[in-house]
């Protein structure tokens, strides 16, 4: 099944490949700020839906973690851009992330039970893999401001741990035949 996970992954892979940017130019700091905030917000929104819709404890707990952790990251990101007087600037990547997030929510809303859990967790795995790749290949290398770069470096381990956590749940869901 072609899920929104694949769309979002495609968006981020194209971002990491630099396809979304003018030749030789990566995103600017205001554009990176918008990408970071949107990426976190999209995952918070999916988490809110999963927390209220899933019947599986491990999935609900994971969803709650995504809401809390990504909210924490966005709080710091917002504080930093305010301090630096950087206004996040929407760009094709942040817009495409938002679109992918909206499509994911719309698709999830049609699903129930095991199908919902599987689609949500599969998306979380693809999402965190894609975000990690974008952080490594595009966002960190292009960030000009040292504090913005430091924030990206600081949040990277969280994305990595979330990915491992999501993969663990994915394995138990497939074992239980969901």
């Amino acid at each position: 099944m072609k899920t929104p996970a694949i769309c979002i992954a495609a968006t981020l892979i194209s971002l990491s490949a630099g396809a979304a940017w003018a030749q030789g130019a990566g995103p600017t700091d205001p554009q990176i700020a918008a990408i970071v905030v949107t990426a976190n917000q999209v995952d918070i929104d999916a988490g809110k839906l999963a927390k209220s819709s899933s019947k599986t404890k491990s999935v609900r707990e994971f969803a709650e973690r995504m809401i809390t952790d990504h909210t924490g990251v966005n709080k710091s990101a917002t504080e930093l851009v305010t301090k630096l007087h950087v206004t996040p600037e929407a760009n094709p990547t942040s817009e495409s992330l938002q679109k992918g997030g909206d499509e994911n929510l719309a698709a999830l809303k049609k699903l129930h039970g095991g199908a919902f859990d599987k689609a949500y967790i599969d998306h979380e795995v693809a999402y965190h893999e894609a975000v990690l790749k974008a952080v490594d290949t595009t966002l960190i290398p292009n960030a000009k401001n040292a504090e913005l770069k430091a924030l990206l470096v600081k949040v990277r381990p969280a994305f990595e741990a979330h990915l491992e956590h999501a993969k663990k749940i994915q394995a138990t869901l497939s074992k239980s035949g969901a």
């Binding site: 909210t71 924490g72 990251v73």
Partner: protein, 114 residues
């Protein structure tokens, strides 16, 4: 006479030295040694720590979101430690205590209480 005085002084000196030694010993081995474990980048640092009974361990959360310090045996459980907050625990019983962050199952640590 002189010999007795020397002996007395010797005894006093020895007693003084013993008291001084005792003070030093109680300052280093007594209760109240504090160890710090930093929680940062989704890791406990140091991940393994050996302490003496009665020592205090403080976990400081430097990540941007909450973590827990929860012994797998349930001997101790911090509950949620907010970003920039800390939690302290006095090691009461000897043994090895593996612990995790219940929020993030990839985070593991160990305390050995001697």
């Amino acid at each position: 006479m002189a010999r007795r005085q020397i002996l007395k002084r010797g005894v006093r000196l020895a007693a003084g030295a013993l008291i001084a030694l005792g003070l030093v010993a109680s300052a280093t081995a007594g209760p109240g040694r504090t160890h710090t474990v930093t929680i940062e980048n989704m890791q406990f640092n140091p991940p393994e720590l050996t302490v003496r009974r009665g020592d205090r361990i403080v976990w400081v959360n430097k990540d941007l979101f909450p973590h827990t310090v929860t012994a797998t045996s349930k001997t101790f459980d911090s509950g949620s430690i907010a970003a920039n907050a800390s939690w302290r625990y006095v090691a009461a019983k000897r043994g090895d205590y593996a612990y995790v962050c219940t929020f993030h199952p990839t985070m593991k640590g160990k305390i050995t209480v001697q």
